[in-house]
Symmetry: C2
């Protein structure tokens, strides 16, 4: 909070928070820098003291969501005592994250799809697959298996909002059934 009304004091963070909230509610399509500035009580040009342009602003929000996403994944891995269920639990957390905030999905993966080789959630997931199946599979199978599993979980997360396809009441069980339908150990 600023003492006076000229300097806001915490504009950068407030813009990011308000932006997050807006995207969660309405999607990124109709997000406007001007409306955001107004709702923060500053002029329409003020945001450009903190962000180079709109894309730069959206990138900041994207990074923030990705961090939250990573938190969920690492927490799921940490609280999973049964090693054999690690990938299942990861998948459930993955899908559930985007089920709770469906509009984040298209926002994250539509504009500038992240480079997987430097995308922390993917790298973490790959480590988990290696930890779980590394001893059962040769190098090739492992490589293709990682891609196959990631694709499936990622694709699945994109489908969760489709009505009727997956019962929202039973996300964990449904996800588990879907994921255990396939087997990459053979």
């Amino acid at each position: 909070m600023a003492k006076n009304s000229y300097h806001h004091g915490n504009l950068k963070n407030e813009l990011i928070e308000k932006g997050l909230e807006y995207i969660d509610r309405n999607g990124v399509e109709s997000l406007s820098m001007r409306k955001l500035a107004e709702s923060a009580g500053v002029s329409c040009a003020a945001p450009y003291s903190h962000f180079k342009n709109k894309q730069d602003f959206l990138k900041a929000i994207q990074d923030y969501i990705t961090e939250r996403f990573m938190d969920v994944l690492t927490a799921a891995a940490e609280y999973c005592r049964d090693r054999s269920r690690l990938l299942i639990e990861l998948g459930i957390s993955y899908v559930r994250f985007f089920y709770k905030n469906p509009l984040y999905y298209s926002f994250l993966f539509n504009r500038n799809f992240p480079d997987l080789e430097t995308y922390s959630p993917f790298l973490f997931f790959r480590e988990c697959v290696i930890m779980t199946l590394g001893k059962d599979l040769d190098e090739d199978k492992l490589r293709y298996g990682v891609i196959a599993l990631w694709s499936m979980v990622h694709g699945l997360a994109g489908l969760i909002t489709v009505e009727g396809l997956i019962d929202p009441e039973h996300i964990p069980e449904e996800i588990e059934k879907i994921l255990t339908t396939v087997d990459i150990r053979r």
Copy 2:
């Protein structure tokens, strides 16, 4: 072609074609109705005689691409003589379609994700899975298997543009290896 310069004669189709071309080259983000109208040699208000608004126009393009997508899938199924390879061939065609036109993917599946229960490519894919695996699997396994496979192929198509992950030179072989890494019959 119109005789005079006042009436264009084929504006609706030309706009769709020009729009397709633009999205293929630059993505939908920067597409502008005005520039499109100008490139077609008409005034900026002319397109609104044929489309209610921009979203209505994009929907028309979306439908057109989906038709082309369906053509590719049905052709792949038709030319596949070996029944046991049907799903593999479908997956390869699916991924290859979006590899050839990467920007179509985010355009199609980002705005207004299609309702799968009425989405012809998905319905067709489901029929193919039932044809291929229906006798091996019970109802539940079939249901979850369809979702799992579709998710994987769909997610895979979204990852193909990521450099290094899949070698563009060997799309069919790579896709086949990835898809055959998993087994839903068990």
